[in-house]
Every structure is written in structure tokens, then in C-alpha cells.
């Protein structure tokens, strides 16, 4: 099947800086594709090149198999939901949604019908005569999407559209966006720096850093099987140790940390004895126990002192300082078992080698 959107060896340079460095990807029809990265990583540049506001230095952008490099933004079969939505404040909601249809020269009554249909679809029937500033944040969001969707674009680009909303509404809009995407059955390309937005909504996520794609995969791939240290550190939280490899047994490794601890982990890539390496362990993969005996089937075990309890409901953590003086973040299970834990208490922690991922380098 021809992908809806395909970028081939896309490069964009601004003077001496390379904002987008040789990025290639494919977005299959009807899927929700996210580009996730810290601010300044080049994700907005990619989006603006797809929309046609920037010209790539080299490479190709294809929509439904055909190149669009020579097509101006107002003729491209892609539409964009802007970061601050960019609804036209001087027009009513109906005129906003009908704007693109008027540009196509559609008959007036037909536009009115299409606008009503679109308002129905986003669950806001009868608001056509209102002004933009009479709507709430979430309603504006839906109108901005409807304004693009009436044009039936091949690809809808969304540039961090949830950034301006408050937390509660953002959580709600995540679910709603996903539902709208299914409703309109259109390819969405979504850019964000918020991993939870990307993880919840996307079929495929590309993690971007410093102009390059670090890894492309499903949310599960990125979370359970990160391929680079950046992805391991960026998706979710992680405790990390640096050190040198001491032993290699197939995929199993043993590393001696800088503070002298021996740790077992799963390697990715080719590491051999003596290499500098870095181990990532998520706080939620670490088990807490009152005695060492309870942790006997874990590959890595440590003893430490609780230095701080970071209470945050279900996402509570404890900071544990091990004997070597390093502080680890450990998820505090809310099963009642550790309800009486206090600062200064001695605890035992352990994790399996399979949940400790080791990457080379790390200097």
C-alpha cells in the first residue's frame, strides 16, 4: 500500500546549523504518527516542511506517492492545526470552517451544509454563528480540527495543539483527538514534546533528538525496548549508572560501576569486556522489600536508606541512598505494604537483569 506521507532523506540547514539531519519515514494511511522530542530538536521544522512553509535543503516529501516539493502550501493536500490554533478571530465559527471551502469556490448552500455536518461531527452543532472568543479551549480545539477536516486532506498535521490547555482538559483532549482521528479516518501526524500525549494516542512514534530520528516504533517498543540511551532516558524515567563491562555471557552483561558496584543487565548491541557502558533501570522495575531474603530471585540486589518519600498518589516514589552513596528513585507500591515507611528506614531493593538495559559509550 502506498504510504500517505513519505519523507526521504530530508535535510534542512539554517546557515551552519542543521535543524533536520537526514530524516526518512513513512506514515501508512489512516494511522496516527507522532514525532516526539525535546524543544529545539527540529520537529517543528519537519512539520513546516511538510506543510510547505519551509523548503527542504535536500530530500523529498511524497504524499500518496507523489512529490509535493513544487506544490505551494495552499495547494498541498495537507492541512495543519497550529500550536495556538490560529482560528480567524474576525470571522464566526461557520466562516472559519467554511474558509477553505470558499477558497475552493464551492457553492454557498453546499458550504453551509458541509459546515453543519462538520459541526455535528465534532459534537458542537448550532454554534456556527458564534465568535471565536466565545468558545472554550477544548471547543476551539475541535473547531480548528473541523476547519481542516472539511477540506478532506490526505494528511492532517498537528503542531502541539494541546500545549495551551490546562492539565485536566489536556487529558480529556488526548482521548478525544484519538476518537476524532478514528471518526475522520485520516492520517494524523502529531508533534509534541509531551511523551504521554504521544504514548497514549499514537500508532507509531518517532523519537527525535538534535535533528535526527533516534528510534521509530510503537509506544511499547520505545518504553520496553529503547535502542539508544537517549530514548531510554527520554521515554519514562530511569536510574542510570556508568561503568565498564566486566563479563559478557550472550545477551547478559556484568558491569562494574564507577562507585564499585557489580550489576547485571541485558545488553543491546555489541559490547565486550572493558567497554565503557551505561545501565538504565526504570523506577517501576525496582522491587522494594523489607529483607534481602524476599529478593532472592532478583539478579541485582542492594541495601539502602530511605532519604525522601515523594508522595504523588499512584505515582509515588522513594529516594533510596545505597551504601556507595548513590541515590536511586524507586516506585513506591500503593498496596499498603509500605504505608508505614519513614525517612531513614533501611530497605532492600532488587531488579532483574532483563529490566536493566545496557548501552555502550556513556562517557
Amino acid at each position: 500500500m502506498t504510504p500517505d506521507l513519505e519523507c526521504v532523506d530530508l535535510v534542512k540547514r539554517f546557515g551552519a546549523t542543521t535543524a533536520v539531519d537526514n530524516v526518512s519515514f513513512c506514515v501508512p494511511p489512516g494511522s496516527f504518527f507522532s514525532i516526539l522530542g525535546p524543544s529545539g530538536c527540529g520537529k517543528t521544522t519537519i512539520m513546516r516542511m511538510i506543510a510547505g512553509f519551509l523548503e527542504p535543503t535536500s530530500g523529498d516529501i511524497r504524499i500518496k506517492g507523489g512529490t509535493v516539493l513544487d506544490t505551494p502550501p495552499n495547494k498541498r493536500p495537507v492541512n495543519m492545526v497550529f500550536q495556538h490554533l490560529a482560528l480567524f478571530p474576525m470571522m464566526t465559527i461557520a466562516d472559519n470552517i467554511g474558509y477553505g471551502l470558499r477558497r475552493k469556490g464551492m457553492a454557498r448552500d453546499q458550504i453551509a451544509r458541509k459546515v453543519d455536518e462538520a459541526l455535528e461531527r465534532i459534537g458542537l452543532p448550532g454554534i456556527g454563528a458564534r465568535k471565536v472568543d466565545e468558545l472554550s479551549g477544548g471547543q476551539k480545539q475541535r473547531v480548528a480540527i473541523a476547519r481542516c477536516m472539511v477540506l478532506e486532506p490526505d494528511v492532517l498535521l498537528l503542531d502541539e495543539p494541546l500545549g495551551a490547555l490546562d492539565l485536566k482538559l489536556r487529558e480529556h483532549m488526548k482521548i478525544e483527538l484519538k476518537a476524532l482521528q478514528a471518526e475522520f479516518d485520516t492520517t494524523f501526524v502529531y508533534i509534541t514534546h509531551d511523551q504521554s500525549e504521544a504514548l497514549v494516542m499514537s500508532d507509531q512514534i518517532a523519537v527525535m533528538n538534535a535533528g535526527r530520528f533516534e528510534q521509530v516504533g510503537t509506544g511499547q517498543d520505545l518504553y520496553y525496548r529503547p535502542q539508544t540511551p537517549f530514548v531510554a532516558g527520554f521515554i519514562g524515567e530511569a536510574n542510570r549508572w556508568k561503568g565498564r563491562i566486566e563479563r559478557v555471557e550472550g545477551a547478559m552483561l556484568e558491569m562494574r560501576t564507577e562507585t564499585g558496584l557489580a550489576m547485571r543487565a541485558t545488553g543491546s548491541g555489541t559490547l565486550s569486556k572493558g567497554d565503557a557502558a551505561e545501565i538504565f533501570v526504570r523506577p517501576e522495575s525496582i522491587h522494594l522489600a523489607a529483607s534481602d531474603a524476599a529478593l532472592s530471585d532478583f539478579d541485582n540486589r542492594l541495601q539502602g536508606k530511605v532519604t525522601s518519600i515523594l508522595f504523588n498518589g499512584a505515582a509515588s516514589r522513594v529516594l533510596v541512598e545505597d551504601d556507595a552513596g548513590e541515590t536511586l528513585e524507586v516506585t513506591l507500591p500503593q498496596t499498603g505494604e509500605f504505608a508505614s515507611m519513614e525517612r531513614g528506614a533501611t530497605v532492600h531493593i532488587g531488579w532483574r537483569a532483563a529490566q536493566a538495559i545496557c548501552f555502550g559509550g556513556g562517557d
Binding site: N74, M80, F82, A86, P89, M90, R103
Partner: protein, 285 residues
């Protein structure tokens, strides 16, 4: 404390009340009274509408009155057409230092007095002036060309004098236009003209209206430019007011003309606001 606050309030209000009272309200009441009387003999006056009758029946007065109004509207329109792209470039296309420099360049001509600026145009446009010599040197004219003392020269002067007062409000409103709104206009299939018509101009409307009001009033009340650059046929209404007051010492008719100008500008500004569907409050606030 309360009495202190009250004294402070009175002190702050005094200059405004003095300014409004002494310079605007009292002179205008006096002008109105003067315009509504007729001189019978030395030092003897009678209330009458004779001045208004004279002003409205004498063809020269009436013709100058309407000509001034039409030319001022025209000057405002030309200023808008020239200033809009300039303001758009300064507000939206130029970045950083360039933006500041361009804005300064608009401002610098206003460092010198209007008189000097108008003389500058005379140096360029007169028979022995720069442009005339240039045309002769290029062989496009075989004798000195006089470009002064006609309506075109006067219009050039009026537009040039008013430019800044149109550019400033336009730059201010255009700067507040979010770039992404313009981009969204293109993204959704709009071309340059439709984006200008449906997005940029509606957004800039407050700036356009307030700029037009200021420029129109400046043109209508301009004395120097029409006198210096205009010809015998380009009589401006302010010149007639000056003539009545200073040359003819006919204060009654002068005051009548002054009042007619006040009514004219009020009516046209009101019409402009009605036409664009705005209130004075929105435009000035």
C-alpha cells in the same frame, strides 16, 4: 487620607480642565457667537445668520469648501494605499534591527519642521530644480519643466506630510497579527489576495480607521502645504479662513468658515466610522 487623595485628584485634573476650557471650549463658544452676528457699523453688531448665508451662496467659498473635502479624502486614500505595504513590510517581513531602522527612517523626516520639508519638495520640483534638470540632461525635456503650483504637487506634499501618521497605527495593529493566522490562511487554500482581503485587512481595520481619521484631519486642516505647493487654482479652505481673519479682518466670516470646517470634519469622520461599522471608542481606545 481622603482629603489628600482629593487634592491629588484636583491637581491632576486642573491642567486638563484648563486646557479644555481655555483652548478648546471657550474659544469655540466665542467663535460660534462671532459667526452668528453681523457688523452694522463701527462697534455695532447684531445677531444674524448673514455670514452663513454668504458662505453657502458664494460659489468661490462653496467650491473651495467641497474641493478641500474631496482632496483631503483623496489624500487620505492615497496615503493609505502607499502606507499599507510599507507598514506590512515593517511589521511582518523585516526582522530585528532592520525593523527598527526602517521605522526610524519613517520618523526621521519629522525631525525637521514641516516648512523645511515642504521647501525640500520645492527644491526638487521647481523649474530650475533637480528633477527638471535631470529630465533636460536625459533629453526627455527640451526646456525647464515646472512641476510646482498644481494639484499633483500639492497632493504629493499632503501625502508625504501625513505618511507617518498612517504608518504608525498600521504597524501597531499589524504587529499584533499572529503569523500563524496568516499561515493558516494559506494552509487552508487561500491565495495572496484572499488572505489580504479576508484576514489581514479585517485584522488591521482599527489601525486603518484611526490612521485615516488622523490623516484626514491633518490634511483638512493643513495650511502650509497647499499654500506653498498648490497653484492659484488649488485654494485650500484653511487659506480662506486665514484670509478672512488676517487679511480682511473679517472675523465674522472667518469664524463662520471655521465652524463649517469643524462640522465637515465631524460629519466625514462619523461617516467613515459608520461605513466601517466601528465606534469611536473602539478606534481610539
Amino acid at each position: 487620607m481622603r482629603s489628600h487623595a482629593r487634592i491629588g485628584f484636583v491637581l491632576l485634573l486642573t491642567p486638563l480642565v484648563l486646557w479644555l476650557g481655555l483652548l478648546i471650549i471657550i474659544p469655540h463658544i466665542d467663535m460660534l457667537l462671532i459667526s452668528l452676528r453681523e457688523r452694522i457699523s463701527f462697534g455695532v453688531y447684531e445677531p444674524s445668520l448673514a455670514q452663513y448665508q454668504k458662505a453657502l451662496t458664494e460659489p468661490l467659498y462653496l467650491r473651495t469648501f467641497w474641493r478641500t473635502a474631496v482632496m483631503s479624502v483623496l489624500a487620505t486614500a492615497i496615503t493609505l494605499v502607499i502606507a499599507f505595504p510599507v507598514a506590512y513590510y515593517i511589521a511582518k517581513m523585516a526582522r530585528g534591527r532592520l525593523q527598527q531602522v526602517l521605522f526610524m527612517l519613517c520618523l526621521i523626516p519629522f525631525y525637521v519642521s514641516e516648512l523645511v520639508r515642504t521647501f525640500g519638495w520645492m527644491i526638487l520640483l521647481r523649474e530650475t530644480g533637480l528633477i527638471s534638470n535631470l529630465l533636460q540632461w536625459a533629453g526627455l525635456a527640451d526646456q525647464p519643466v515646472e512641476m510646482l503650483y498644481n494639484d499633483a504637487a500639492m497632493m504629493v506634499g499632503l501625502v508625504y506630510t501625513s505618511m507617518l501618521f498612517m504608518v504608525v497605527p498600521l504597524v501597531t495593529t499589524l504587529e499584533s497579527l499572529d503569523d500563524s493566522v496568516v499561515e493558516a490562511g494559506y494552509d487552508l487554500g487561500g491565495g495572496g489576495i484572499s488572505v489580504l482581503r479576508e484576514i489581514i485587512i479585517p485584522h488591521a481595520m482599527p489601525g486603518i480607521v484611526s490612521g485615516c481619521i488622523v490623516v484626514f484631519m491633518l490634511s483638512l486642516g493643513n495650511y502650509l502645504t497647499p499654500t506653498m505647493l498648490g497653484g492659484k487654482d488649488s485654494l485650500w479652505f484653511t487659506e480662506m479662513i486665514y484670509n478672512q481673519f488676517i487679511v480682511r479682518s473679517n472675523w465674522e466670516l472667518g469664524a463662520t468658515f471655521g465652524f463649517m470646517l469643524l462640522v465637515l470634519s465631524s460629519v466625514i469622520v462619523w461617516g467613515m466610522l459608520r461605513l466601517t461599522g466601528r465606534t469611536l471608542q473602539e478606534t481610539m481606545g
